[in-house]
Structure formats: structure tokens, C-alpha cells
Symmetry: C2
Subunit: 419 residues, 2 copies
């Protein structure tokens, strides 16, 4: 008996029949004796339809009015889901972001939640209601309607769970949980049973799309146990995401991911003068271009070379800045671009205490004749830049190397919420 | 320079092109130097679509959740209209019922407005904004979303005009104004230029569908000048609806209307005992059945007979009540039903001071051999029950009798708002 927050995305509530399926999953949790708050997104393609309507009215719709428009999508879902739950004989009440009091910054289309009022939620729960809350939306202290941007409904659910000190937040999706890598690449990959927030965040940043990093960050900040599970297979437990401090034994590597959205820029024959790197990356940062991996090396001829990666979308702007703003720094250095790269990463909280993981990774890649172009490491992640056409082979090799194809469970320490 | 409230219905905002037409009509009023608040309904068939969705979820949707669902329709319209106005270079801001503070009773699907907050409206107007308000919806003091029921958007507009002490409330429709009778029956009928609230109310009750009586009552209560005008012919002035005290000379009869939705029930051979009528109409009233016209007569045989009309929808319940609850009163009296009737009415504030109007009406009907089955009168209305197949002929005869085919204008006394 506790408080469970559930979240269902747009595909789960795409039509009345699917809404009834969601109602069943909600009632199932209520029947276990829990208080249930369920957060839903807009039905199926509603948001796309509303955006299309706005574009037909004007090419450049105001972001305040877009939020006013888009927030209706979730409001339709919550009313219909509340009706579906009621039609099964359960008490239910829907609430939009304003009614709950999901207070956000005064920024449209990508506001961050700053506070969640719990008075009304607690009152309705006490009265025995299942509460259906509109995801993706909030309200400023002045009563302006805002939306939370990408991954917004996940973030709404986690933030409500945090505010209510819920026992668990279940994110229902069309996959069965978190996998150590993309099952389309390694078909016999096993679903991960338990993973830490930190690992999940690193996996999300390198290309695993199950949860938006904002929702995982919020869960981590407030210690909300998250469960990613299937809308279609309600008996499956999915993947539990908890703090690393609650995990006793785990695999050194929790996941492998590839990111093919970056390009590499190599600046060769730069003069070896102190401050060169500071100048170059300073001007890129000033123009809001994020640089990911960086390597600087001194060539035998006394010239410097610097290689770094940026998002492919930022390539043109980056080149322009290097050629114009950084003309004096680059001087007669060469600018070489490599678009056919992939960043392959292994992520695992377990690598902190275990030396040799990096060496194992390099060896596994070398055995497949995969050349490593750049390396970067963080506390729980090691990334190697490889040729794009070798990325799938690299993933397969790394999954094999770190035993991710088997179903060895991470072992959890301490008390964990029931499922 | 003043405050003008405009209202556009669902057909006027049915698609992006039509929304741009509405934006033009709004900007036209703003360009005259007025502060403009525009109230809109949901786009075209949106409300029907949402009702259909709800019915697919459950046969018996909760009225609170229906209000949550339906109120999204207007919120879509206001966002799109605000965008359309902005795209023409004007400042605009949309507000839903909650944001304005359209406070209603705590009743779902047919709440009445109890208060309208004006702080935010005045602030936005002062900043030079055109304000686009969602019609048909409000919010209870506790923050529950309500809808106003039939004619709701008209009522929203009039109530906002009253709260802001607006100079005029323009209700844009697909007709050019108020007619003395249905133009489909009397093709050469003239549009009425000026009519009083009282006449408009009587005409609405007897079948003229231009404005919902609630909006006219609200306008009358707060003395808001109303103008019913065409969305398509912006230069036409339509019909002005004002207090009778502002009208100096007017036709004795402002309009003729027919109501074919009633049926007549005749109770013959009732015992002539005091209290019979009280008992009969008491039990009907207890069962929420409205009785309209009533005639009681004493027949030569010492038996009583009572005839009355009810809505056709209520006929079955009424007969059941008479046969069961009123068994002892009706006794061996006969119950006769006449479904082929029409109530034809003439309405006019001018008949108060002019005797003989009723006689003129009866004479006009008699000349066409139209038999009068029942008569009822109020201060500004005379109604006759006739055979249904004679109703059109009756309307034509009455329009001719009272010169409604010509365009003699009512003359207005005192200052009237500019157009």
C-alpha cells in the first residue's frame, strides 16, 4: 500500500479501445491497494495535428499561443481516461496542469518545473479517487499555460512522484524495458532488470531513447524509483532504475550505445602557441556550439593538431566560426572534416572499482580490426570514435566482451519497492 | 473609442481561412480606435467530434469530465485566432475561462455565470492587446472547469461586455440580423433594425433561434446594447437590441413566430369539483413537465373540460402521470391528444398602449378561415393555437396585417452607441 505514479504516452491512448486498456492497467495498480496517479500524453497524432493547424494559420506561431493550443491535447486524454476508469466502477478525477498546480518557469515550449502543489492531489487521493493528470504542461505563477518540451510527460510523472513522495513511478512504453544496447543490432540482447540513474543518464546521452534525460535527472535528484515497462505486457516487470547506492553487485558494463549524429573536425598544422585551444573552443562556446570529444597532439614537426567532435547540425556554423572569428588562430592550419564516424560507448557504474575495463574495450575492438580514432572517458563511461560503418560490429563485439547477451541480473541491496 | 466585445460562432472559425476572416473583422474594430475583446466558440464540428469520442469510451460520460473534454474545443480556437491576429501585426493574447476568471456555479454542462473578473482583461487591454476569450466555459471558485450549455458563447460575450461596461456587444452570425418572422416562410420579410430585449426574448421563446434567451436576459439585466450581425457582410449593421425605454416609436408588433413543438392534451368529462386543476397541474409540475397554454371550460352537462399544451417530448410521461398518479382525479374523464397543432404568436412592446391588437390578430386569422383552438396572452405577446398545416398561412396573414413586410424602422430615442 503506497502511492504509485504511472505514465502512459500518446500511442498508449491513441483511441478509445487503447484508453480502455490503459484504464485496466491503472485499475490493476489500484486493486493492489495503492493510491494511483496516472499521467498521460496527448492521443496519438493529436499534437502533430495541432501543430499543422497552427502552421496553416501562420508560419511563425507565437510560443505562448502554441502552448495554449498544444496543452489541449493532454486535456482531451485525461477526460477520456477518467471516463474509461469510471465506466469500470472506480472513482476517478482528471486534472490539467493548472488545476494540479504544476508550477513552471515563465518560458514557453520548454519550461522547467519549479514546484508541484500537492494539496488537491492529496485531497482527491484521500477521497479514494484515481487521479488522471495531464502531462507535458504546467502553469506559471501568473497563470500562463506552459509546456515542458521533449520528454515532458515523463518529467511530469517523475516530478509528481517526487512531490507526493510516491513509492514508485512506472513509465509505460512500447518496449519491455531498458536494453544494454539496441535489440535491432544485437537480437539476443537481454533486457536489463536493474540499472542506476547514472548509467541510464549516460546511456540516454549516447543514444538510448527510452527515457528523456530530464526525467531521469529529476528521479535521481529526488530518489524516485523508476520502472520502465511495457504497456502491452502488464505482468512484465520491465527495468527498475534506482540510485547506484542501492545496488550491491552489478555488471561492470550496463550498456553499450552508439551515437552517429556527430562529425569530427581536425585542425592540423596549428602553431604551437599557448592559448590556442582556449581561443578556439571559446569562440565555439560563445556561439552555443557544444563540443564533445577533444584530442590535442603535438606533431613531430613542432606543429599542433586538435581534433574534436560536434553535432552534425552544428558543422556549418562551426566551420564558419573557425574560418572567420578564429582566422588569426587557425592561420595557415588545415581544416579537415570527417563525417563518417560513430561514437561507441560502454556505460557502467561498476567500472569505477574495476581497473582494466578500458583495456578490455580496446582489445575487443582491436580483435575485430576496428580502428579507434579518438577516446574519451568519464567516471562511468568510455567512448571510442570509430568508422561509422564499423559501429554495429563494434557494438556486437562489446556486448559479447562484457557478457551483455546473457541475463545475469544486477543484485539489489536494501529494501526496494514492490512491483 | 470604447470597448467592443465581439462574438463569433463555430462556423465562423471552422478552418484556418475562416479564422483569418474573423481576424479581419476583429482588426477592423480595433482600427476604429476601440479596445476589442473577442469571444469564440469551438471550430466547426469539434464539439460534435469530442462528444462522439466520449461516447466511444462510455455510454454515460460523467458531466465533470465532459466539461473537461469539451472546454478544449474553445481553447484551440482562441490560440489559433490570436495567432491569426498577431500574423497581421497586432498584439493579441488568448485567455481561457479559467484565466479570465469567468466564475460560475458548481454545476456541470449548464452552469450559470456568477461573476467575471476584469483585472487581467483590463491589464491586457491597457497594454494594447486584442483579447481572445474562450466562450462557453467558466470555472468554479474551486477551480473546476464548467461549461455553460446551449447558447453559452453568446452568454459569455454578453457577460464580459457587462463586466467591462462595454459600449456594445456584437454577435456575429450567419444571418444578417433579426427578422420579424422566418424569411423562409415570408420571403419579402424585412430585417428588423432595432428591437427591444423584451421582444427579442418573447421571439426567442416562440421559436426565433438567432440568440439564446439567456444571453438576451443578461444583456437586458446589465443594459448591454447587443448587435446581431453578419460574419460575411461586415458593413451591414444587422439588428440592434436595446432596452424598450430607449425606443420612442415602434411598430405595435415586432415579430411573428410559430412553435410546432407542442401537443395539446384535452381532458373531457371531468367531474366539476374544486381543486381538480390544482391536482392535475401539481402532479405534472412535480414531474418537471412544463405546461404552456391552459383553458378550462364548463360544459353544458355540468362536466368540466381542461385543455393544455406540453412539449411533444413530454407527451408520453404526461399521459402516464394522468393515467396513474391522477387516476382518482381524471376518473372516467376522457384523455384526448392533438398532435397537429402550432402555436402562432405576435410579439411587440407596442401592444401595451394599443388596444385592439388582439382583435386584429383574430380577425386576420378568421379571414383566412384559420380556426383558433386556444388563446393565451402576456403583456407583449398574444399566442393562438391553430392547426399545424395552417401555421405558415397564419404567419403570412399576420405579417401582412401588422405591416411587417415593409421596412418601417423603429425610431430610437436617446443616445445610442456608434456602429
Amino acid at each position: 500500500m503506497g502511492i504509485i505514479v504511472q505514465k502512459f504516452g500518446g500511442t498508449s491512448v491513441a483511441d478509445p479501445q487503447k484508453i480502455h486498456n490503459v484504464a485496466k492497467a491503472v485499475i490493476r495498480e489500484k486493486e493492489k491497494g495503492n493510491d494511483v496517479v496516472v499521467v498521460v500524453s496527448a492521443m496519438g497524432h493529436t499534437t502533430d495535428y495541432l501543430i499543422k493547424l497552427a502552421k496553416e494559420v501562420t508560419n511563425n506561431p507565437d510560443s505562448r499561443e502554441m502552448d495554449m493550443l498544444l496543452s489541449t491535447g493532454e486535456q482531451v486524454s485525461i477526460a477520456l481516461l477518467a471516463m474509461a476508469i469510471q465506466s469500470n466502477g472506480y472513482k476517478a478525477v482528471s486534472m490539467n496542469g493548472q488545476q494540479v498546480g504544476i508550477i513552471t518557469e515563465n518560458i514557453h515550449s520548454k519550461a522547467r518545473i519549479v514546484d508541484i502543489k500537492t494539496e488537491k492531489l492529496k485531497k482527491y487521493l484521500k477521497e479514494g479517487n484515481i487521479i488522471v493528470v495531464a502531462g507535458f504542461q504546467g502553469v506559471t505563477p501568473e497563470g500562463e499555460i506552459t509546456t515542458l518540451g521533449r520528454g515532458g510527460s515523463d518529467t511530469s510523472a517523475v516530478a509528481i512522484a517526487a512531490a507526493l513522495k510516491a513509492d514508485r513511478c512506472d513509465i509505460y512504453t512500447d518496449v519491455e524495458g531498458v536494453y544494454a544496447t539496441d535489440p535491432r543490432i544485437v537480437p539476443n540482447i537481454q533486457k536489463t532488470d536493474v540499472i542506476s540513474y547514472e548509467e541510464m543518464l549516460e546511456l540516454a546521452r549516447v543514444g538510448a531513447n527510452v527515457l528523456h534525460p530530464r526525467s531521469v535527472e529529476t528521479a535521481k535528484q529526488f530518489g524516485v524509483p523508476l520502472r520502465v515497462r511495457s504497456s502491452f505486457k502488464l505482468n512484465n516487470l520491465g527495468t527498475l532504475i534506482i540510485g547506484v547506492e542501492n545496488m550491491e553487485i552489478y555488471k561492470p558494463v550496463a550498456g553499450v550505445a552508439a551515437d552517429t549524429s556527430q562529425v569530427r573536425i581536425l585542425l592540423a598544422n596549428l602553431p604551437d602557441i599557448p592559448g590556442t585551444a582556449a581561443k578556439l573552443f571559446g569562440s565555439l562556446a560563445k556561439n552555443n556550439i557544444s563540443v564533445d570529444m577533444i584530442i590535442q597532439s603535438l606533431a613531430s614537426n613542432g606543429k599542433n593538431s586538435i581534433a574534436f567532435t560536434v553535432d552534425a547540425d552544428d558543422l556549418d556554423s562551426a566551420i564558419k566560426i573557425l574560418k572567420e572569428d578564429d582566422k588569426d588562430t587557425v592561420k595557415d592550419g588545415e581544416i579537415l572534416i570527417d563525417k563518417d564516424i560513430a561514437k561507441v560507448s560502454i556505460v557502467g557504474a561498476g567500472m569505477v572499482d574495476r581497473p582494466g575495463i578500458a583495456a578490455d574495450m580496446f582489445k575487443a575492438l582491436a580483435e575485430k580490426d576496428i580502428n579507434i580514432k579518438m577516446i574519451s572517458t568519464s567516471e562511468i563511461k568510455i567512448s571510442c570514435l570509430v568508422d561509422k560503418d564499423k559501429s554495429k560490429e563494434a557494438i556486437k563485439a562489446l556486448c559479447k566482451e562484457f557478457n551483455l547477451e546473457t541475463n545475469e541480473m544486477a543484485i539489489v541491496k536494501g529494501d526496494l519497492p514492490d512491483v
